[in-house]
């Protein structure tokens, strides 16, 4: 029953380009939401499940994005090779930076991640020879078409890329689901509740936290590659402090520590401001008010609100 419902939703999402063929703008917004939801999933594993509030998360998406850009444009590697290499690079960077940041806890940890985020953003902004600097990195290709036997899929058109973004999102979601269900995930949730106690129970908390920081960064990097391939260009400002804070906002608004949290958060964060365009200058003001209301009345985020609402209905 539950499985059938999930399968139906996934089938619908893949069929969406056909359903909404006259609505390229809607499809664009949904594709963009998918691309924001991927790093949000990475952050949810860190922030929502382990309690690690990183203010430099998007810098790791940037590491993935720029690594792939250099590999594809300068080294002429294919997208399908650049994607895993860039993902692993972002994960390795996360491991290195994490093993420093995680020596600190709570707000000190946040400040140190913020500092690393700023530092990495400065590198993207100023290392002209490699990142093309503040002007951005143009000419990043969409993936080459995939052909298996008679079947082939092109990623150039919006509908084609949307399906890739959706597949990437589902992969990240499946990974998140597997982590949360596993014994590894149990330790993460224990660390969030009482890190000291988890240590006395026998968990090497530093190792777990570093691993999760690396994993979250790798997921961010994976999303970053898809993001710049979608836009066909990378800009340092897509990986700035403001974007990292937006990521934290997406996770908290959507519901930190809920599987669906990052998905809901990304959709709300990307789609709602677009639809508020009718209100023109007031759009961001209205959006701000909306965020305040959500934080006030749904402290567990929208996913938490939906869950408690569902429980009340079923009672």
């Amino acid at each position: 029953m539950k499985l059938a419902a999930v399968a139906a939703v996934i089938a619908f999402l893949y069929a969406l380009p056909a359903v909404a063929s006259g609505q390229p703008y809607v499809l664009h917004i949904i594709a963009l939401s998918c691309l924001y939801a991927i790093p949000a999933i990475g952050l949810n594993v860190m922030l929502g499940y382990t309690g690690l509030v990183s203010l430099g998360h998007m810098a790791f998406a940037g590491i993935g994005a720029y690594t792939a850009a250099v590999l594809m444009v300068d080294a002429k590697l294919s997208f399908w090779l650049a994607l895993p290499i860039a993902t692993i690079t972002a994960g390795a960077a996360g491991f290195a930076v994490g093993s420093i940041c995680l020596r600190f806890r709570t707000h000190y940890f946040m400040i140190v991640t913020l500092a690393f985020g700023l530092l990495l953003h400065q590198v993207m902004n100023n290392w002209d020879e490699v990142t093309r600097g503040a002007a951005g990195f143009p000419g990043i290709p969409r993936p080459a078409p995939l052909a298996i036997g008679d079947w082939s899929h092109s990623f150039g058109p919006l509908a084609g890329f949307y399906r890739l973004a959706l597949t990437g999102l589902l992969a990240a979601f499946a990974l998140q689901w597997a982590i949360v269900r596993s014994d590894f995930g149990k330790v993460l949730v224990a660390i969030r509740q009482d890190e000291k106690l988890a240590g006395f129970k026998g968990a090497n908390t530093m190792l777990y936290k570093t691993t999760v920081f690396a994993l979250g960064s790798a997921i961010a990097g994976f999303g970053g590659v898809l993001f710049v391939s979608f836009l066909r260009a990378a800009s340092p400002d897509a990986f700035s402090l403001a974007e990292s804070i937006n990521m934290v906002l997406i996770v908290i608004i959507g519901g930190a520590g809920y599987l669906a949290g990052p998905l809901i958060g990304a959709l709300v964060y990307i789609a709602v401001p677009e639809y508020l365009r009718a209100a023109n200058e007031l759009r961001l003001v209205l959006f701000g008010v909306l965020l305040v209301l959500i934080t006030l009345f749904a402290p567990q985020g929208l996913a938490g609100l939906l869950q408690s609402g569902w429980k009340r209905v079923r009672r």
Binding site: K186, V189, Q193, L197, A198, G199, F200, K201, G202
Partner: protein, 234 residues
């Protein structure tokens, strides 16, 4: 089995431990008593790796374990409870116990069964699927203590297990501790202020005063010791 040699610890100007030495050679239930500020909890923290001593060594079964991380001590069979009572509040009772077992590499299928058996021993089985945060303080205390026993530790350090526990639960606790010791004797070291409780349970009392061990012996002997009486009243 446990040996502390010349342990010293200062917190700013406060001397918590001063050249504290103590050895426990045999399995048994030991009470660690002393006035407030005598250094009992600090001694626990030093033994379990929660705090690095300024000086001195800790040995467990001849092995120098001074300053090694708590998770490594847990692997050596050291378990402890906390004065302030620590459980994972969002985990259910089953999940709390399951987590202790998971950390000692007990397989998923066995965890539930063993956890339920332990909960039954302290009359908490009807709360098995309730989050720990919804229990009363005394029940949380029982859950915490059961969680330390479930991994069959060889060295168990309980920090004021009886504080905040009502008389009826206290009886459950006493019975449970005795049953556990009979089932699997180890070194049980218990910090306690409830004298009646600890006198009844412990075979030997170790008295701390001003950061060092003042006296030790059978409960009756300690009760009559002039040094101990002076420390408590002076």
């Amino acid at each position: 089995m446990i040996e502390v040699r010349g342990a010293a610890k200062r917190y700013g100007g406060v001397v918590a431990l001063a050249d504290c030495s103590m050895a426990i050679e045999r399995p048994g239930i030991y009470g660690l008593i002393g006035p407030n500020g005598a250094g009992k909890t600090t001694l626990f923290d030093v033994i379990t790796g929660a705090t690095l001593p300024d000086a001195g060594r800790v040995r467990i079964e001849g092995r120098d374990v001074t300053g090694i991380a708590p998770h490594r001590l847990a692997a050596l069979g050291v378990a402890r409870s906390f004065q302030e009572c620590r459980v994972f509040p969002q985990f259910t009772c089953l999940e709390n116990l399951g987590f202790s077992l998971q950390m000692h590499r007990v397989g998923k299928t066995l965890r539930r069964e063993q956890a339920l058996r332990m909960l039954r021993l302290v009359n908490l089985e009807s709360y098995a699927d309730e989050p720990a945060a919804s229990l009363s303080f005394g029940q949380r205390r029982l859950l915490e203590i059961v969680g330390t026993f479930i991994v069959q530790p060889r060295f168990l350090l309980l920090d004021e297990p009886a504080s905040g526990v009502n008389p009826m639960l206290l009886e459950t606790l006493t019975g449970f501790l005795r049953a556990m010791y009979q089932q699997r004797p180890g070194v049980f070291l218990i910090v306690e202020h409830n004298m009646q409780f600890i006198m009844e349970l412990a075979q030997e009392l170790i008295v701390m005063h001003q950061g060092a061990v003042l006296d030790r012996g059978a409960p009756e002997a300690i009760q009559a010791s002039p040094r101990v009486i002076e420390a408590y009243l002076g």
